[in-house]
Amino acid sequence: MPDTHFYQPKHFYQYDDYDRALVAERVEQFRDQVRRRIAGELTEEQFKPLRLTNGLYLQLHAYMLRIAIPYGTLSSRQLRKLADISRKYDRGYGHFTTRQNLQLNWIKLEDAPDALAALADVDMHAIQTSGNCIRNVTADHYAGAAVDEIEDPRIWCEIVRQWSTLHPEFSFLPRKFKIAITGSPNDRAAVRVHDIGLRLWANEAGEVGFEVIVGGGLGRTPMIGKTLREFLPRDELLAYLEATLRVYNRYGRRDNLYKARIKILVHEIGAEKMREEVEAEYAAIKDGALKLPVETIEAIARQFAPPPLPHRPAVVAEVEGLKLEDRDFALWLKSNVAPHRMAGYRIVTASLKPAGAPPGDASAVQMEGVADIADAYSQGEIRVSHEQNLVLPHVAAEDLPAVWRALGRLGFAEANVGKITDIIACPGLDYCALANARSIPVAQRISNHFAGLARQHDIGDLKIKISGCINACGHHHVGHIGILGVDKNGVELYQLSLGGDIDFGKTAIGAILGPAVTADKVVEAVDALVRTYLDARSDGERFVDTYRRIGAQPFKERVYAAV
């Protein structure tokens, strides 16, 4: 593979000395806080928010470090460093999450400052990936490459990232705060189920602005966000966000942990009142220091300018030939390869869901392998999707066979993206102190059961999302099939829901099917669901389309007859 990675220019925001200073100083601040904690100068209660806002959770077996991957974008150098850190400070593997971050599960507190210093070396950090503050701002994982994109949302993710980092007023919110941004009418960032979702769109005059959606969320009380503002001029984004956060900080509930998200505030006072409060605050500040100068926006936007991709042929004989010869390649093209803005290119998803594997996990060697492929074939850039896969955003069509083979050597070329075995699962009770039930073994069993590629492609697009508790980190509410692990008298049970979705116009919270089933019946239940669909589907209908047409009853009958 060509040794180009030291010289490749990057096509996303690059840190300058200011960014670097802040991250380095944050590491030193935390190093001192760790020292004081270990020396007993800080109690655990005093220390907990300090370590959370540096990404460190205490889980069942060990500390977990959640590393921020802003807008899911990584350079190959950064990905290699993550591999390095996983080897040096952890057990040599990591988990890519539903918020585009990376989790390492076996970190020691005493090593954390050094791990964070290593991250700082490649302009990365774990700032505010946990705690009651503004978290990683996520984006469409196809940003900058998608055919349907109006504007690259990552420009705004970076602007929001800076504004929200160590924000002195919003570091002790009632609860966590999650923002997602999409630049496309097809919402690949799930913006309607975030505390604030932002959708870039162009009005009739051709001006691009934001639809501001507030109060979405999953968890105990799943809700779809309400549009607070149809069209917000882009340069007023930070003022509007500050106004919204200020209203939340002042009036969000603090009496009950489970009622403290902004969605509860919107629900309790109503969208109309919320809008009034936010607009009043926004009116008072919009022409102040938060108004974004055009030069500031442009300076950041320039850094996300699309890479100058050389012209490559749109139709490639080798690809067409291989498609006919090799059925696995043909299926991979269908499921794992998406169109790109530029005719000679494609967006390739590396499936981190090999049959029977823990979803979303990658070993150090695999991470390095993906970094190498990115250097050779994708402008040195990798994305993390909120569906726990990695994406190579700029692959020339001519290079598809080579990329397929290279990913195959890593075990990341399973042709299952968007299919039934492309399962999204939280870490669950195997790792997580909050969980009620395990999710990874359930995912593994389903994955093994449906492993046959031809069958998977016949079943078609079907998103199974599994959460090990009501906190819904597996996003089960918005799975076509959602599976929620619960604990009843010490026994793991799994509640199924159907019809969840995240795209605009179709955002839906799944409806619970019926009584929860035992762990050993989950595969049969899913199988019954699939059979019901296959028997009832009309031409071109996906699982979720058939469900919407025929309703839950046929599915319910089949499942409960089988389990």
Partner: protein
């Protein structure tokens, strides 16, 4: 409870709790609960010399917004004191939000206060201190060196 400030100038005025102060608004010192409406102080900010804001728990961040509104929206220039859950690790935030005095019995608070403003050489967002944001510095740097 030890009282700290950067300048060492703190007032000995006794603050009245908000409900009591509302009956005697000429009194120049008031203490608010973090649910009290700071906006009601607007007509009196010129006269007030001390406002005390409360953190019932250090993790309850409502007073940060109160502080910023008092400084930024209402233009209050007197002593703004933090009481309650006041810990040294939150000092950088408190200072940026406009607090200038602190009641705390945490060991080492005074030393931490002396260093708190310099813990971070960069700030990303405007607040109630006069620090130039990275954004602003970049603009002025670009104007000096347009190629950057």
């Amino acid at each position: 409870m030890p009282l700290f400030s950067e300048t060492g100038n703190t007032t000995i005025l006794e603050p009245l709790p908000f409900a009591d102060w509302q009956r005697r608004p000429a009194w120049p010192a008031v203490s608010l609960a973090n649910t009290d409406p700071v906006e009601d102080l607007a007509p009196h900010v010129g006269r007030l010399r001390l406002i005390v804001l409360n953190f019932p728990k250090f993790s309850d961040g409502r007073a940060y917004s109160q502080a910023r509104l008092l400084r930024g929206r209402l233009g209050y220039t007197g002593e703004l004191r933090a009481t309650g859950g006041v810990l040294q690790d939150q000092l950088p935030f408190m200072l940026r939000c406009g607090f200038d005095s602190f009641e705390s019995d945490q060991k080492g608070f005074g030393e931490a206060l002396a260093k708190a403003r310099t813990l971070f050489s960069v700030v990303y967002q405007p607040a109630e201190d006069d620090r130039a944001t990275a954004s602003l510095l970049r603009l002025s740097r670009r104007n000096v060196h347009p190629a950057v």
